[in-house]
């Protein structure tokens, strides 16, 4: 197996994979709200603003939009090319990264991300219904499946998988955070029928409903949060993603970059251990939103450490072939 890979290529594969996962999660994210609108009979007014709050794009949104109705929010999150986190933008970035590494990924991967991109380019605001988001989700899942089933377990697969797991951990935490925002205006709904419907929609959006039922039976808020955060067997839980990211690091951490690699392992190991040994009751007592916030920051630090350990260029020795000591090229970090 090839044990070395261009840093630029590894970087592109990592981000290709993150953005494909990001697009998939954005589709899930929007879909959970669309699902809720179907249950209006129970007296719940669907809210669209929390989706913007949680994505961290409120400022950018308010600069160009003046209301939070369904169509405006959907268009912003899905087809807005000026929103760098819209599904269209994410797919475009994933594809652009794929285009720079076509010689490394498989032809099937390229054709899949290319066809997803063309699907997004063809779409108009009139297309944005539940089935549309299902299609996007499936298409992105197919990309991940092709990546898993057409590539040897070498560096390219490991960097892609690492990116996917880090992105997914972040996005599952954000989908959970939406719940926190949704509950804010109506704390009296806690434990009511409305509340159960919302948690159910949340499970649905992470394809977790069946697995949750098999594990826990009835829907109880604490157990749902615990399942999505701490379950070691469910593939979209934060703990699962951290475990799998760790396995990728086992395969990747070789070579000359020992210091940066050690720092990465330390940061990752600490976060992984917390998810492994915390209980959901401790987390809720300390504040779910605060916990998720800190989790996201530490995940960002792991992402920085990945960059240092694998992608950052190494400077040359200060002499060249002709023995000139001057002008050693300083590659940008």
């Amino acid at each position: 197996m090839n044990r070395t890979m261009l840093s630029r290529v590894a970087n592109a594969i990592y981000w290709m994979s993150r953005y494909a996962e990001r697009a998939e999660n954005a589709a899930r994210f929007v879909d959970v709200n669309l699902q809720l609108t179907l249950d209006r009979s129970v007296g719940l007014e669907p809210q669209w603003r929390p989706l913007i709050d949680v994505s961290g794009d409120l400022e950018a949104y308010e600069q160009r939009r003046d209301n939070f109705d369904r169509d405006t929010v959907l268009e912003f999150l899905t087809l807005d090319a000026d929103n760098p986190n819209s599904i269209l933008s994410s797919v475009a970035v994933a594809r652009e990264n794929a285009r720079t590494v076509r010689e490394t990924i498989t032809a099937e991967m390229w054709e899949q991300i290319n066809s997803l991109y063309h699907l997004m380019r063809r779409s108009t605001p009139a297309d944005l219904d539940h089935l549309f988001f299902q299609r996007i989700k499936r298409s992105a899942m197919l990309f991940a499946a092709i990546a898993d089933n057409s590539q040897s377990r070498g560096l390219a697969w490991s960097f892609g998988h690492l990116g996917r797991m880090i992105e997914r951990a972040d996005k599952t935490s954000r989908i959970l955070d939406v719940k926190y925002y949704l509950l804010l205006p109506s704390a009296e709904d806690v434990g009511t029928n409305v509340d159960t419907i919302q948690w159910r929609a949340l499970l649905h959006s992470t394809d977790a409903l069946e697995m949750y039922r098999q594990q826990h039976g009835t829907i109880a808020p604490g157990r749902v949060a615990g399942f999505l955060m701490l379950d070691r067997a469910f593939p979209r839980s934060m703990a699962f993603c951290l475990d799998r990211a760790g396995r990728c690091l086992d395969d990747l951490a070789t070579g000359d970059r020992r210091h940066a690699t050690a720092r990465l392992r330390r940061q990752h190991g600490r976060l992984q251990s917390e998810l492994r040994y915390h209980t959901i009751d401790e987390i809720i007592t300390g504040g779910l939103h605060e916990y998720i916030d800190s989790f996201q920051q530490r995940l960002n630090a792991i992402d920085d450490a990945v960059h240092d350990a694998f992608f950052r260029p190494i400077n040359a020795e200060p002499t060249d072939a002709a023995g000139n000591p001057d002008a050693a090229p300083q590659l940008q970090a």
């Binding site: 590894a10 490394t104 054709e111 066809s115 190494i314 072939a321 002008a327």
Partner: protein
């Protein structure tokens, strides 16, 4: 008339194909398919027109979905397009191809010896075969290549030589491309697609296979390694994703299973070229660079180049990395030197006669030639000596008086920059136009690989077609398209065994 009867019984209607006033690659002057084209023509004529057009559309879609595209500059919306592709292949008979192949090998050997000679002994000038003033020896790019000895004495490792066929069917060389000829990826991919378009025809004919090109290219590149090791590290170097040929760079790297690098991935360290990897710096032995000499090394050539690797030329001159093609091949790749290639063949190859003739060429730098050109501008094709891609060409018979006056002025001001050739009647081949088949002009670019110990010619090559009626300009930058090129009734052993049937 007996002749007409023959046309009816043997001939194929081919959707009312109108015979051109030129040599046609598939149809003879009496309207019958040439022997090597009979199977194909019969198959096409058997297809309902709608089915035939459906296959054309399916082939275009297959190329687009595989992303066989080129980048178009300055158009933000659709920056990627496929080059127009026509499913009717151009066919070359096997024995004729064997003659061409020998001629191409002969020509590339002579050009390679010329380049080696120019940078060392300069025997050809001393012998008076080529006047030294016609070679731009003092241009800085070439000066940096003087005295360099690339591995095996090979300079032009990957070349494309453009051929045309004139009215009587004679193949002639139009142009030598010794720098970074592109297009071979279209040959390989359009073959893959055509096997799906005409599977039964492939079954019946022995079309010589092009499938081993990547293998031969890798062998050629590995044979250049200056470092004594088991598995030399070969890389393909691209200017980046915005280069119009980026698809091809990525494609060739993928087909060979080697890294595709950009300048920023490479660094000169400890006297070697190394690449930035996830586990540190790693040595590179052979660079197939698809970037011009001028951008290769900002310390030696253009200091403003952001695409190159500072110091790479020092490593190259020290013999620690191989570059393909070798820097400096461009000295033999212009329309003035072209005119002397037949003389080179006689000079370097013990008096051999050129197997493929040139197009007769007037050099305006010569007083006699210049007068001839100025007197007959309206009949000639005038070309700038140092441009590529069909730029600046004036076709006398189609030019306005004003254009002729302007080019005459340009020739008088800078005669050394101009050459002229008679207007050729390029051969045609049936091409899909408006739902039918019409004759369109074509040329042919075969690809030649020259390694340290063997030379390989890809059977066939890229057929470029001028899609506009009557146009002679086939360049993709000027509305040209491509076709697959079949070399059939494969007599060459080894090839036919591999060319088998469709998948």
């Amino acid at each position: 008339m007996a002749c007409r009867g023959v046309v009816r019984s043997v001939g194929v209607p081919l959707f009312d194909y109108a015979l051109p006033n030129a040599f046609d690659e598939l149809i003879d002057e009496r309207g019958r398919p040439r022997p090597s084209a009979q199977v194909l023509c019969r198959r096409i004529a058997d297809l309902p027109r709608e089915e035939f057009l459906r296959r054309q559309a399916a082939a275009e879609r297959a190329l687009f979905e595989a992303g066989i595209t080129f980048n178009v500059y300055g158009q933000e919306q659709a920056t990627e397009r496929i080059i127009p592709f026509d499913v009717v292949p151009r066919i070359i008979e096997g024995a004729e191809w064997d003659r061409l192949e020998a001629g191409l090998v002969q020509r590339i050997r002579a050009l390679n010896l010329f380049i080696e000679d120019v940078y060392h002994e300069r025997r050809i000038f001393k012998a008076g075969v080529i006047p030294e003033r016609f070679v731009e020896l003092n241009q800085p790019t070439w000066a940096a290549c003087r005295g360099v000895r690339p591995p095996g004495g090979v300079w032009c490792h990957i070349s494309g030589i453009d051929l045309v066929r004139d009215r009587d069917g004679t193949f002639r060389v139009l142009e030598d491309n010794l720098r970074c000829p592109s297009g071979v990826s279209y040959v390989l991919e359009s073959r893959r697609v055509l096997k799906q378009t005409f599977p039964r025809v492939f079954d019946e004919l022995h079309v010589r296979s092009v499938d081993d090109y990547a293998e031969r290219l890798l062998e050629t590149l590995q044979s250049l390694t200056p470092n004594v090791i088991d598995r030399p590290r070969v890389v393909v170097m691209t200017p980046g994703i915005y280069n119009s040929a980026y698809f091809e760079h990525a494609y060739l790297a993928q087909q060979m299973g080697v890294p595709l690098v950009q300048g920023s991935d490479l660094i000169v360290d400890d006297g070697y070229v190394k690449m930035q990897t996830t586990s540190g710096l790693s040595r590179v032995d052979v660079i197939y660079r698809r970037i011009d000499d001028a951008f290769l090394d900002p310390r030696t050539f253009r200091p403003d180049s952001m695409l190159g690797v500072p110091g790479v030329m020092d490593v190259y001159r020290a013999g620690r990395v191989a570059l393909a093609n070798a820097p400096g091949t461009g000295i033999a790749d212009n329309k003035v030197i072209y005119a002397f290639v037949p003389d080179m063949i006689r000079f370097y190859l013990d008096g051999q006669e050129p197997l493929i003739p040139n197009v007769p060429t007037y050099l305006c730098a010569r007083d006699d030639d210049r007068q001839q050109v100025l007197d007959h501008l309206k009949e000639l094709v005038v070309k700038p000596a140092h441009e590529a891609g069909g730029k600046g060409i004036v076709v006398g018979p189609h030019a306005t008086d004003q254009q002729l006056a302007e080019v005459a002025e340009a020739i008088r001001n800078d005669p050394a920059n101009w050459i002229a050739q008679p207007t050729l009647s390029l051969s045609t081949t049936p091409t899909i136009c408006d739902g039918g088949l019409e004759p369109r002009h074509v040329d042919l670019r075969p690809y030649i690989l020259m390694g340290a110990d063997r030379t390989h010619v890809l059977p066939g090559g890229l057929t470029r077609v001028a899609l506009r009626k009557g146009s002679l300009i086939v360049n993709s930058s000027q509305g040209g398209g491509t076709k697959d090129t079949w070399v059939v009734n494969g007599k060459s052993p080894g090839q036919s065994a591999r060319s088998g049937g469709p998948p």
